[in-house]
């Protein structure tokens, strides 16, 4: 990778240890992905926020660099381990809470916007077509590339952080070209959000850095997000391109049989002890739809609803929050179904959800069973 004089000097340590470390990370990332240079970015979205995932090493590292490091571009942040407003209801241990707060504090000190959301594309304005960004959250990177006309690779926690500190990213892979060698032909009739989530999960397994998808009709926000969430969970693929692709493309069908295979892999329980909605977190449209569906009905079980704080504030103003709480929902901001310490196998055997991403992590990281169903079915079965 070619570096400018200024970049070379930073890599040598002439602009301080933090910049040297950040350049080391971007050079390693660039060499690993065959980049030829660094390009400016306008927005970074960071993962590596939940104490559950980054642990003591992560907490100490962030605390140490935050003494000096400051982000150079708009930088937003993934969910953390709990909602500060109601953390006392969940019996988390003091060590977890204090380490998590230290992580939050370190990011804020560095100038990161404390958005604690995995759907930055829904809660912030989208820059102009073709803008280079660096998104580490997988569903957000896929959404940015496939639906928002932005350009990002599926960044690692460190490459996105280094990009935020430098304001640049290696110019490689999806930032410059995308010629997928596979086309997935959608062959499932009457798809709902669960189908799209499974399609995404399937695409992530068979695709390389991007895939063509054909045979899709119009999708709503929920289906779009489900697809991005599913794809980000299963592979390294970070873009859907809609259409057949060129004639050399290998064609693969996503049909009832493939869908059943994905369902069998992720659905491990016949029913859940609790219900979780929002992985990726829910946006205002989905909250509005949920509030509409719940009119005059109530959940018969605990139902946890995960949404960004900004969406919660809007929902409260409009009155959706009251409607959801009346129907028995627990509303949580700043955190997410995935990798949440709020759901653990000591108290819960299985969870009902409509999220493929949630299902994967609940099963693999939290060790609980998962009962997968579309939202309409969940409301039919679980409310009265």
């Amino acid at each position: 990778m070619e570096l400018t004089k200024d970049e070379e000097s930073a890599l040598k340590g002439e602009q301080g240890e933090i910049m040297q470390m950040a350049y080391r990370i971007l050079v390693a990332t660039g060499e690993a992905t065959d980049a030829d240079k660094l390009v400016p970015i306008e927005w970074a979205h960071l993962s590596g926020v939940n104490y559950n995932t980054i642990g003591d090493a992560g907490e100490e590292f962030l605390s140490s660099i935050s003494k000096e490091a400051r982000v150079k571009v708009k930088t937003t942040l993934n969910p953390m381990g709990f909602d500060i407003d109601n953390v006392s209801n969940y019996g988390l241990d003091e060590n977890f809470i204090s380490k998590q707060l230290s992580i939050r504090n370190s990011y804020e000190t560095m100038g990161v916007i404390p958005s604690f959301s995995c759907i930055p594309y829904e809660i912030f304005d989208i820059p102009k077509v073709g803008t280079q960004v660096a998104f580490a959250e997988s569903n957000a990177a896929i959404h940015a590339n496939s639906f928002d006309n932005l350009k990002t690779n599926k960044e690692s926690a460190f490459s996105a952080l280094a990009s935020a500190l430098i304001g640049k990213s290696p110019y490689s892979s999806l930032r410059k070209d995308d010629n997928p060698n596979i086309t997935i032909q959608m062959k499932v009739k009457n798809p709902n959000e669960l189908t799209y989530g499974m399609l995404g999960f399937f695409a992530g397994k068979v695709g390389d850095t991007s895939v063509n998808i054909s045979g899709l009709g119009d999708m709503d926000k929920r289906q779009t997000k489900a697809m991005c969430g599913g794809m980000g969970t299963s592979g390294t693929c970070a873009k859907f391109i809609f259409g057949e692709g060129n004639s050399n493309c290998e064609k693969i069908d996503f049909d009832e049989k493939e869908m059943q295979n994905v369902h069998d892999e992720l659905n491990t329980a016949e029913k859940g002890d609790i219900i979780t909605l929002g992985s990726p977190q829910l946006g205002l449209d989905e909250i509005s739809e949920l509030a509409g569906k719940l009119k005059g009905r109530s959940f018969q079980k605990r139902c946890m609803v995960f949404l960004p704080r900004t969406v919660k504030e809007q929902s409260t103003k409009i009155g959706y929050t009251t409607e959801l709480e009346r129907a028995g929902c627990e509303i949580l901001s700043d955190c997410c179904t995935c990798l949440s310490p709020l759901i653990n196998k000591d108290s819960v055997d299985a969870v009902t959800t409509n999220s493929i991403k949630g299902a994967f992590y609940l099963k693999n990281s939290n060790g609980v069973g998962v009962n997968l169903k579309p939202l309409s079915q969940i409301i039919e079965d679980e409310t009265r």
Partner: protein
């Protein structure tokens, strides 16, 4: 050789046939491989030149590499066949020299041999 994280190193090779998942199969304090199914099970990677095909698993594994460096139980350097972002960014963060080499060079490296490389002069020496 391709340089991902530069440096100058001399040490004894610990070679793995299997890829390494740093998240979950490498002990963060001791730098010991804890996966029973791994060919380096119970081996310490501390102060070795760790040679393995590539890293697998979650990118959070990069934090494990940072942890073992902080705990002084990390390898002196890592040599892979293929670059993956977890190992590349983990070594970059922890400032552990890392290079990738060809399949032929990879197969010529044996466990226990002494190896030295200097990324400035692009030279690898085996003894």
């Amino acid at each position: 050789m391709k340089v991902l994280v530069s440096g100058k190193v001399e040490g004894i090779v610990l070679k793995s046939k299997n890829p390494i998942n740093f998240l979950g199969t490498v002990d963060k304090k001791m730098g010991i491989i804890s996966d029973k199914n791994h060919d380096l099970y119970q081996k310490s990677i501390k102060d070795t030149v760790l040679v393995f095909p590539y890293g697998v698993g979650s990118s959070v594994g990069a934090y494990t590499i940072y942890s073992i460096k902080s705990n002084k139980t990390s390898p002196l350097a890592m040599i892979c066949k293929k670059a993956d972002l977890t190992v590349a960014t983990g070594c970059a963060l922890a400032n552990i020299p890392m290079i990738t080499i060809s399949d032929e060079e990879f197969s010529s490296i044996k466990n226990g041999m002494k190896i030295s490389f200097d990324t400035d002069s692009n030279q690898i020496h085996y003894q």
